[in-house]
């Protein structure tokens, strides 16, 4: 069982809200699989399938094949604007 906090930043937060708690009945999961599961659960979240939407785990930017452990913070974010 994997329990995660998933949060959203930038334009995607307008569509998906800031944060969701997610539970997966598996022992291993990747960022890409979390992306796909969110898109399966919620049509608005299909935007996460756009490769321009990047991800970070515990505030470190990662690729879709990165593994995620229970309790870690997963962030999906739109293209950064700069300051």
């Amino acid at each position: 069982m994997i329990r995660l906090s998933v949060s959203f930043y930038g334009e995607i937060a307008d569509r998906l809200g800031r944060e969701r708690a997610m539970v997966f009945a598996v022992d291993d999961i990747t960022v890409g699989e979390i992306r796909a599961e969110l898109a399966r659960q919620d049509e608005a979240a299909t935007i996460l399938l756009n490769p321009q939407i990047r991800a970070a785990v515990d505030s470190v930017i990662v690729d879709d094949d990165a593994g995620v452990r229970s309790g870690q913070d997963v962030v999906f974010f739109s293209i950064v604007s700069g300051g």
Partner: protein
């Protein structure tokens, strides 16, 4: 050398920041500062009533530190300061303040210019403008990217 990067979610008083940065400074011959203000018009001329800078509690602050440290490493400077707003900002309010001290003015000018060009494209913010015509999310412009490319290593 002191390198300081701060994210402010309240106000930012550029005058007070500059005064503090100058205070007691007697070994440097130059301080260059830059103050960025929120504009009342977007890039297309549309009225902007509110700017919102979405920010992440770890990644945003870290990006400011990384860019300030890169500036200090690249130029002959004594101190580097960046203070950046996050959250809701009204036109005319200060968004960002940068100050660089150096023994010589040229390095201070270059360092401040470099730091701003990198902040404009790489700082971890998500910028949203809203006005009478609605709201929209902003991405770096081609000009921002060209300015950043001037410094490619």
């Amino acid at each position: 050398m002191a390198v300081e990067a701060r994210l402010e979610t309240g106000g930012l008083d550029a005058g007070a920041e500059l005064a503090a940065f100058l205070s007691g400074r007697d070994a440097d011959g130059a301080v260059v500062s830059f103050t960025g203000l929120a504009r009342s018009r977007g890039a297309d001329g549309a009225a902007v009533e509110r700017l919102r800078l979405d920010w992440h509690p770890v990644m945003t602050a870290r990006s400011l530190s990384v860019l300030a440290e890169a500036t200090a490493a690249r130029f002959d400077v004594s101190d580097v300061l960046v203070v950046h707003r996050g959250g809701e900002i009204a036109p005319g309010e200060t968004i960002v303040f940068v100050a660089v001290a150096s023994p010589h003015r040229r390095q201070a000018f270059f360092a401040a210019d470099y730091l701003m060009d990198r902040l404009k494209t790489e700082a971890v913010f998500w910028k949203h403008e809203s006005g009478p015509g609605g709201g929209r999310w902003i991405e770096p412009t081609e000009r921002d990217r060209a300015d950043r490319a001037r410094w490619s290593d």
